[in-house]
């Protein structure tokens, strides 16, 4: 009996230890830093809450911009990834493994290199840019160094995080339920909206979170694909830490970002329902 009670704690041990050491402890120090004043080497802790209002005043444009960029990227990724996941799960037949591999394959190259490749793909004279210009999607004559390029880069880089959870939930969907819907006179469209889509909601919720959260704090895409006026909040935090060496402001801004993401996610989960996130097991 005792053993049964102790074992779960024992199993939690390593993970908890890891999280405390590499997440809770740094978080504590960062929080402390966010309430300090002074210059590097001579920082003083004095509950300086004004750091928070200051960074919010100075950088709310970039905060809003980050959430708009990552929101649009998440939506586009969802619209692209869902049909893809559906096809791979239900229609791919013997090509399924190959297609899955094709989706994950870009991850064998690092994030940075993939983004830098886009710099070449979208350069001013490239066929892609000429095409976009011809169809009126690049009014300024260039695609690189615009918000379009940043959002495209975010979408591309995070699509697998959207795809894999959706695929996972579609793939374990019991096809007999769809057959039953058809037997009960559902049209294909009705069967999709009443059976398939609701049952894949856990995947959609997980996918959107896995895309939206890291995309909001991303700075690589804005750094390489964006131009003047396209900086995201991640770029600001990086510059506060590394070039302006204003550690307290950088820490405060990181907390503001974290808090806003947390609020957005909580509202979203509340709206989407926790069952959707946890899957039917939670019921």
């Amino acid at each position: 009996m005792l053993r049964r009670r102790v074992i779960p704690y024992f199993l939690l041990g390593p993970g908890t230890f890891w999280l405390v050491l590499f997440f809770v402890v740094p978080l504590y120090y960062m929080f402390k830093l966010s309430l300090e004043t002074g210059v590097v080497g001579n920082l003083e802790f004095n509950w300086h809450w004004a750091n928070y209002s200051n960074v919010f005043d100075l950088y709310h444009t970039q905060l809003v911009r980050s959430f708009v960029y990552s929101g649009v990227a998440t939506l586009v990724a969802l619209l692209l990834a869902y049909p893809l996941a559906y096809t791979v799960a239900f229609k791919a037949g013997r090509f399924r493994t190959l297609l899955l591999f094709a989706v994950v394959a870009p991850f064998f190259t690092t994030y940075l290199i993939r983004t830098l490749a886009w710099e070449t793909i979208l350069s001013d004279g490239s066929p892609v840019t000429s095409f976009l210009h011809a169809v009126g999607l690049a009014p300024s004559g260039h695609v690189l160094a615009t918000s379009f390029a940043v959002i495209a880069g975010l979408t591309y880089n995070y699509i697998p995080f959207m795809f894999l959870p959706i695929y996972a939930s579609l793939e374990r969907l019991d096809v007999r339920l769809i057959e039953a819907a058809n037997d009960l006179y559902c049209s294909a469209k009705q069967a999709f909206f009443r059976v398939t889509l609701p049952l894949s909601l856990p995947g959609i919720v997980a996918g959107t979170l896995l895309t939206f959260i890291p995309a909001s704090g991303d700075y690589i895409n804005a750094q390489f694909l964006g131009g003047a006026g396209n900086r995201m909040i991640g770029n600001v935090i990086q510059s506060l830490y590394l070039t302006q060496s204003d550690y307290p402001a950088a820490a405060a801004l990181s907390f503001v970002l974290m808090a806003i993401i947390l609020v957005i996610v909580l509202i979203y989960i509340r709206f989407a329902g926790t069952e959707a996130l946890m899957g039917e097991d939670a019921r």
């Binding site: 590097v40 080497g41 100075l58 950088y59 444009t61 970039q62 899955l100 994950v104 991850f107 690092t110 994030y111 940075l112 710099e119 070449t120 350069s123 001013d124 004279g125 300024s140 004559g141 260039h142 690189l144 160094a145 880089n157 697998p160 995080f161 894999l164 959870p165 695929y167 996972a168 939930s169 793939e171 374990r172 019991d174 997980a206 896995l210 890291p214 690589i220 390489f224 964006g226 131009g227 003047a228 006026g229 900086r231 770029n235 600001v236 510059s239 830490y241 590394l242 070039t243 302006q244 060496s245």
Partner: protein
């Protein structure tokens, strides 16, 4: 597929997604730690009889040729650890500052940093005075124009490593008529020009376009120039602010002209004949990287021996040919000319005093003024 196996697969896939996310995050994390070490005694460097042991040098990437280090090791028996970990003086200084404040150098005995950074380090007591007797070649061969800079009039704690000019790099086909910094603000080049993300170079050049001498400029002059840059960024005139990522944009034909460095100019002219480094009609910004020996540096004797070694014109010529920047050593030009080296755009590597007559040195800002100016410029970058 059985129900159970299915569940397994989907869990596996979800796990894969998480793993991929973690890998992605870790990949951006990057960045190396700084190893500790180094003694804590702070004093003037004292020459021991002969250099020996190990020497750790911190420098910018691509700032040395392949031969100098092995040759120096062979000549002196000193073992060199050469680290290319300086990409931005601010970032580097901020990374090292906590160590330096404790009187440690992270094991490094030489750091190559710009004038304003070494001036700041000197003020904070982070550098050691040099023993000139240990560096006779530096005494003998340092070019005249660099002997008495304002921040170190007697070169008592710095030795120049390399210098260069910040001016224009122009695509002759796309923008044959760009000759001045003022030209970059012309509306026909909208979205086709890039400015450097270095406040101390970009802003003074714009001040020169406005007819203000950066060396006597007031804070208000700086702010006015920053406003001009800000307006140009907001209107889409300036495509983006870069470090030397402008190289890619120039080679891809994305931009007509950038504010750029002469060292890159030499290289780009070789790679693409359409590209050319131009001296702005307003003049350039002239900068230097200086070798300093930080506090707590192990083996300063070897560090001085190394600087003395590269100040031999023969040794220096080898280095200059590779890195294409202005050499601080007298007597290198005849050696390179004699070799008939194809790489030498001599005008940019050995600029004559008439060529650089309108150039200004990088202003050294201090205290609150520095903070205000850098903050204002950074807010334009982060716009």
């Amino acid at each position: 597929m059985s129900e159970r196996l299915r569940a397994h697969t989907s869990r596996f896939v979800a796990g894969l997604a998480l793993l991929a996310l973690l890998v992605g995050v870790a990949a951006c994390g990057g960045g190396g730690g700084i190893e500790g070490g180094g003694s804590t005694e702070v004093s003037t460097v004292e020459a021991e009889s002969k250099p020996s042991g190990e020497l750790t040098i911190s420098n910018w990437p691509l700032y040395i040729d392949k031969q100098t280090i092995p040759d120096f090791e062979k000549a002196t028996g000193v073992k060199v650890k050469y680290i290319e970990d300086i990409n931005s003086p601010e970032e580097y200084f901020n990374k090292m500052q906590p160590l330096l404040a404790k009187g440690e150098s992270g094991g490094r005995s030489l750091m190559m940093l710009p004038d304003y950074t070494v001036a700041k380090m000197h003020e904070l007591g982070y550098v050691q005075a040099l023993d000139k007797a240990a560096m006779p070649d530096v005494e003998k061969n340092l070019i005249k124009s660099l002997r008495h800079p304002s921040f170190d009039p007697e070169r008592s704690y710095t030795v120049p490593w390399a210098s260069g000019m910040t001016g224009l790099i122009v695509n002759k086909e796309l923008a044959p008529e760009i000759h001045s910094i003022c030209d970059l603000f012309e509306s026909r080049y909208k979205g086709k020009v890039e400015f450097l993300n270095e406040a101390r170079e970009t802003v003074p050049l714009v001040m020169k376009c406005e007819g203000v001498d950066p060396e006597t400029a007031t804070e208000a002059d700086w702010m006015k120039a920053i406003d001009k840059i800000k307006a140009a960024a907001q209107s889409g005139q300036i495509r983006r602010f870069t470090g030397n990522e402008y190289v890619q944009d120039l080679l891809n034909g994305n931009v007509a002209a950038v504010i750029g460095w002469s060292g890159d100019g030499v290289q780009l002219e070789l790679e693409d004949p359409k590209l050319e480094w131009r001296m702005p009609t307003e003049g350039c910004m002239f900068w230097s990287e200086n070798a300093v020996i930080p506090v707590g540096a192990p083996n300063p004797t070897a560090a001085e021996a190394f600087m003395n070694y590269v100040y031999d014109p023969q040794h220096q010529a080898q280095l200059t040919e590779t890195i294409n920047v202005v050499s601080p050593v007298e007597g290198v030009r005849p050696i390179i000319e004699k070799k008939g080296s194809d790489s030498a755009n001599l005008k940019l590597i050995f600029p004559s005093s008439s060529f650089t007559k309108n150039c200004s040195s990088i202003p050294i800002l201090k205290g609150e003024e520095e903070q205000n100016i850098l903050q204002a410029f950074d807010s334009v970058l982060n716009e």
